[in-house]
């Protein structure tokens, strides 16, 4: 295990959404701050900084994780996926994103990136979820606008379309 100097900035090389990137961070810098303010990927949001709300959820090496509970230096050499990488191309949304728009599954949109990153992973693991297990999975995300009903509907709709595709 490498030892880091608390007062020094350390070079971090990683892959984000399929592209190699690098930046510097002190050991104490949160991954959320590194993503947002060093790499300029502001789509990942900060809602609580104590791991409860889920707004900052990204995928680290293929699994969902809270970026606010991760230090930037921990992802040196990792592969990250963030909301900026979800759409297949500019001007075209993914099946999941389209379902969110169609079902009005977002209002202010602040929690949405985290929910999308969790669902993107979950629907690949669980292509045909029942509503109860889907709700249980989404229980790790807080949304204050929608009351969740349209989020659940959008996720079930997206799952069906992905299965039918």
């Amino acid at each position: 295990m490498s030892r880091l100097n608390a007062d020094a900035r350390h070079r971090i090389r990683l892959e984000v959404n399929g592209r190699a990137v690098e930046g510097e961070a002190e050991p104490r810098m949160l991954l959320t701050d590194f993503l947002r303010h060093t790499l300029g990927l502001t789509g990942t949001h900060v809602g609580c900084e104590h791991g409860v709300c889920g707004a900052c959820t990204i995928q680290i090496d293929g699994a969902p994780a809270r970026a606010c509970l991760t230090l930037a230096v921990q992802v040196d050499g990792a592969k990250l996926h963030t909301v900026e990488g979800l759409a297949p191309e500019p001007g075209r949304l993914s099946v999941l994103q389209e379902a969110f728009r169609r079902h009005h599954a977002l209002q202010c949109g602040f929690c949405t990136a985290g929910i999308l990153m969790s669902l993107d992973w979950y629907l690949r693991q669980t292509p045909d979820p029942g509503e109860v297990e889907l709700r249980e999975f989404l229980g790790g995300h807080l949304c204050r606008c929608t009351g969740y009903v349209p989020i659940v509907a959008a996720a079930l709709d997206a799952a069906k379309r992905l299965r039918d595709a």
Partner: protein, 796 residues
């Protein structure tokens, strides 16, 4: 075919779904911007004997440390809605009065360094006795928060409408409830943010903040910064991560960061963290209410006597005590009750100051009123639904003037209730209850009828003043809404509104309205909603609150569109050689009604006043139209303290079936039906979103959420692991029904719909729980621990 009324996809969503939103912390800052962190009080009530900041000032990366000394030298206090010999500052001056009150601000090169330096500030506190419960605030022997007041009662007003004494004397029954509505907040997922800059050469502040309005607060901030309004440029970012009223409460920090930027000589940015937000941003008011009814033998209510003690926390922050007066015109709810007495007291306690929060006064008032209606039924052995029906404002009585001066604009309450009972399946729900009870389960049904006010009268808060004080202060009334429509040199249409959306899709709905008016498609209309007080049309009523978008702002948009359309029609008439009254706009063209081939492309007509003003008659130049609209019904309070506190009044009737677990006390919602009459529905998908979202907020307030304070004023719910928000596992899908009675007072017939369930749902659930457990008294939250303690004896 009209665009309005269709649930078209939102223009906002693609950016938000792809990480391209532009929230305040996404926008970047000017080079050289510094970052602030705030030292906050650990005490609920204490004198500040000394603050030593030398070590912090010398710390790495620190540019400045700001305390009360700088704030009182460079700024002024924050004005409040009542005249009292007390001052409210954006930072603690001489003493702290709640846990989390700002004591010092460190400005440093980054947030990490600023927080490091906070640890180096030493403050000597001398703790004082504190007042936590509003009941104790009424006690003349309790510690006094503000020496200028002599007690903790900041306002005590009594009102009388009709002849309540006579009604009570003649009543067959007097039935009362006493409730204490707890503290909670809608806690948007995005916290507060401010980026402030100060220009010493112009003595002017330029501040970006995720403030939601009302812009009646702008003059308050300008006063606190000691500049005229034209030297406080307040801007908002394009996107906001939710508000629900809460981001009104960022305003003290706008003033504080303005002063920090002035002291530091550089732009200063501050993003609140969640722990700060929960402890010290803002809260809804907690309120003690005693409510008594004079009741006839058949359950008809002939009079109400309200006694309300409103706890606004440690300071009276503008616009408080508005929470207490927002519902004044509809204190009789959905009922035809002609005699009312009211005593309203505002008290100060050692808790976070209160402010806007979804429902704003409604949850508190209806909790008492609708608990009372259930108690009347039970004490008189009547069906609770019959008591509601018997007291409703009758069909055909609209517009109906309430005893306290409200003007209920439209509706048919009995018909809406009948439709809800039928379409919502009440009969089947009663069968479920009967069979559940036969099995020994604790199953209850609750009902609520509510009037949902929208478009606040900017004068209602002056009801707290006596008529004599109001005469001295000058009248306040109305609610200016504004919209601007501009045509560019290529004939494209842009719209600006001052509604400061917080995620509600305003840009989409406005595009629908203007598209309908001008015969275009919504995609042809570009709507901008970020605010800049230096450049945009606005007034004190601007902003995002009191559910004013659909009724007021959309109305102003419609009027602006009609005005520009009238000018374009006259210009087209001259070119097409037909009367202006025969000009029609459709499919991107402008044509003669009886000869559609006699037409012009819209873009060409719309560009004419730029390129060839000489071809357009004077006065018909169609370039940019700004409309200000204020409804005449929103008059100032009268000599008799009658006040039409809101322009529109939607109607809600809810019923639900719940089961309380016989062992754990856990509450399970079996079915929830909510009937809404919000006038004309402009976008059904967004209305459903407002209802469902409001329902979830209400469920949280009813069952899970409470800002808890210890007896010593310590704050006990400072994280999202302590202050519990409902998740997907807790929020069921409500059955939403509609009954449509367009408002005669708004240009499009729409009423507000954003807050109603926060008013109706908490008490509906409480009524159902009271029915399930057979209990007379129940306060929120309906947590499992509380319900378990209330389980009937002999339960398994």
């Amino acid at each position: 075919m009209s665009w309005v009324g269709q649930s078209i996809e939102r223009v906002e969503d693609a950016a938000l779904l792809t990480g391209r939103g532009r929230y305040i912390d996404d926008l970047g800052t000017p080079p050289g911007t510094l970052h602030a962190a705030i030292l906050r009080s650990p005490h609920a009530h204490a004198m500040i004997r000394d603050i030593r900041t030398d070590a912090a000032r010398a710390a790495k990366g620190v540019t400045a440390v700001i305390t009360a000394a700088e704030v009182t030298r460079l700024g002024g206090p924050l004005l409040a809605g009542i005249r009292a010999p007390i001052q409210c500052w954006p930072i603690a001056v001489e003493r702290v009065r709640y846990v989390g009150e700002p004591v010092a601000v460190v400005v440093a090169a980054d947030r990490y360094l600023a927080e490091d330096a906070l640890d180096l500030i030493e403050v000597d506190y001398e703790p004082l006795a504190c007042v936590v419960h509003p009941r104790d605030a009424l006690d003349p022997t309790s510690a006094v928060l503000h020496a200028g007041l002599k007690s903790n009662i900041a306002s005590d007003r009594s009102f009388r409408y009709g002849d309540p004494e006579k009604a009570f004397a003649e009543a067959a029954h007097r039935i009362a409830v006493a409730v204490h509505y707890p503290r909670n907040s809608c806690t948007p997922i995005e916290t507060y943010g401010v980026v402030a800059d100060y220009d010493p050469w112009e003595d002017a502040y330029d501040i970006l903040a995720n403030f939601q309005g009302p812009f009646s607060i702008h003059p308050v901030i300008a006063r606190a910064l000691k500049v005229p309004g034209n030297r406080l440029r307040l801007r908002t970012p394009p996107d906001s991560g939710g508000s629900f009223g809460v981001k009104q409460g960022v305003f003290p920090y706008i003033a504080l960061m303005g002063i920090a930027a002035r002291v530091a000589g550089r732009p200063v940015k501050w993003i609140e963290d969640r722990l700060e937000h929960l402890a010290a941003s803002v809260s809804a008011t907690n309120r003690m209410i005693s409510l008594e009814a004079a009741v006839a033998a058949d359950g008809r209510v002939t009079a109400l006597a309200w006694d309300q003690v409103e706890d606004v926390g440690a300071h009276i922050r503008a616009p408080e005590p508005a929470t207490l007066y927002r519902m004044h015109g509809n204190l009789t709810g959905a009922y035809d009750i002609r005699n009312v007495s009211v005593r309203n007291r505002v008290v100060l306690t050692n808790k976070t100051p209160t402010g806007l929060n979804r429902g704003f006064g409604g949850p508190q008032v209806y909790y008492a009123l609708e608990r009372l209606m259930q108690r009347i039924a039970i004490e008189l052995r009547l069906d609770p639904l019959d008591v509601i029906r018997r007291n409703l404002v009758p069909s055909g009585a609209f517009p109906y003037k309430t005893a306290t001066g409200g003007l209920l604009d439209s509706g048919d309450y009995p018909a809406a209730v009948a439709a809800a009972v039928e379409d919502g399946g009440l009969a089947a729900l009663k069968v479920r209850q009967t069979s559940a009870r036969a099995e020994g389960r604790l199953y209850g049904i609750g009902y609520t009828a509510v009037v949902e006010p929208s478009v606040s009268n900017m004068g209602y808060i002056t009801t707290v003043l006596t008529p004599e004080e109001r005469r001295k202060a000058g009248p306040k009334n109305g609610a200016q809404a504004t919209a601007t429509i501009a045509l560019d040199p290529a004939g494209a249409v842009s719209v600006h509104i001052a509604s400061v959306p917080q995620g509600q899709g305003h840009r989409t709905v406005v595009a629908q309205i203007v598209a309908d008016a001008l015969g275009l498609a919504p995609k042809d209309i570009r709507v901008v909603t970020e605010m800049d007080t230096a450049r945009d049309a606005w007034s004190i009523a601007s902003g995002n609150y009191s559910s004013r978008f659909a009724p007021a702002v959309c109305g102003a948009v419609q009027l602006a569109a009609e005005r520009i359309k009238a000018k374009l029609s006259r210009a087209a008439a001259a070119q097409l050689n037909v009367p202006a009254g025969e000009i029609e706009f459709a499919g991107g063209r402008v044509h003669a009604r009886h000869n559609p081939d006699n037409a012009l492309p819209f873009g060409r007509l719309a560009a004419a006043s730029h390129w060839a003003p000489g071809t357009v008659a004077d006065g018909d130049h169609a370039l940019r139209e700004t409309v200000f609209w204020t409804p005449p019904q929103l008059a100032a309070p009268g000599e008799d303290d009658d006040i039409n506190s809101s322009l529109c009044h939607g109607f809600i009737f809810d019923f639900c079936g719940v089961e309380v677990d016989c062992v754990t006390g856990e509450l399970r919602i079996d079915k929830y039906v909510t009937m809404h009459d919000c006038g004309r529905v402009l976008h059904p998908g967004m209305v459903a979103g407002q209802v469902t979202g409001g329902f979830a907020h209400a469920l949280g307030a009813a069952v899970y959420e409470e800002f808890v304070y210890g007896d010593d004023g310590s704050f006990r719910t400072g994280t999202f692991a302590d202050y519990l928000l409902p998740t997907t596992m807790e929020v069921p899908t409500p059955v939403i029904l509609h009954y449509e009675s367009p408002s005669p007072f708004t240009p499009l017939g729409a009423k507000g719909v954003g807050e109603g369930n926060c008013m109706s749902t908490p008490v509906c659930l409480a009524n159902a729980v009271a029915d399930a457990l057979g209990i007379a008294e129940i306060d929120l939250p309906l947590s499992p621990a509380k319900l378990a303690a209330l389980l009937p004896r002999g339960a398994p």
